[in-house]
Amino acid sequence: MSSALDITQAVNPPRAAFLDFPLGHTTGKPHDPELQRDILLDALKGFSAAVPGTVRMLPYRWDETEAWKTNESEKSDDRRDRHDTPQYQCEADRQLADASRR
């Protein structure tokens, strides 16, 4: 799968399916299992592709305006710090992981 067409084309994998959605949505929209199924069904057809390096262009659009694209290209830097310790989604996870390791 891919959400970044130019990066994928540079990598040139055997088979790819490009979904033009914002980053973090490589396989669909949340709580939309029918769309997720359509996307994956479409992508999996790539396994029968005969030409190596084919990128299937999936026909789904995030919304009518695609305003997310303007927002993404105008961002300066919104990444978080590169912490070198495990970053848990929630504190309960950290406690569970610590308990598992004891």
């Binding site: 949505h25 994956l40 396994f47 009518e64 569970l96 992981a97």
Partner: protein, 169 residues
Amino acid sequence: MKPRISKPPSAPLQYIDIIDERYGKLGYAPYRWALHTEPPPWVPLSKPLSECRLGLIASGGIYAAGQVAFHWKDDPSYRMIPMDIDSADLRTSHFAYDQTDARADINVVFPIDTLRRLTQEGVVGALTAHAFTFMGGIYSARRVREDMGPRITDALLEEGADAVLLVPV
């Protein structure tokens, strides 16, 4: 009734340019993007997907509750996610994408329920016992290619994978 006129879709974003410019402004040297001009390795499927065992690799920093989460400084580790896990037990840990929707529904970066459904429907023959996940914000493509990649590949082959779906973020 008036016909609904739709805007045509706009072009995909040029992420290489966007990221090069963004990091250039922050004072970083240009990134050496992975660029392969030779034809990719190629093995056609020997049987239909409905008879294949499919593996899943995802780079969105997915981990299971109880596992150690990823750190964000070129973490070279991967997690094995049992493919019969309750998707409610999955979490994300990544610095480079907005995880809000992934945390609301993991299937947008780790399509486990979707794949289980397609397997039940017979579109996919079977799934491997585990999926393999990592935190893809790793600066060195070489490290992934020479270390993590072969280890995950060997593990998937041991689990009988005929084909693998890669889901990056």
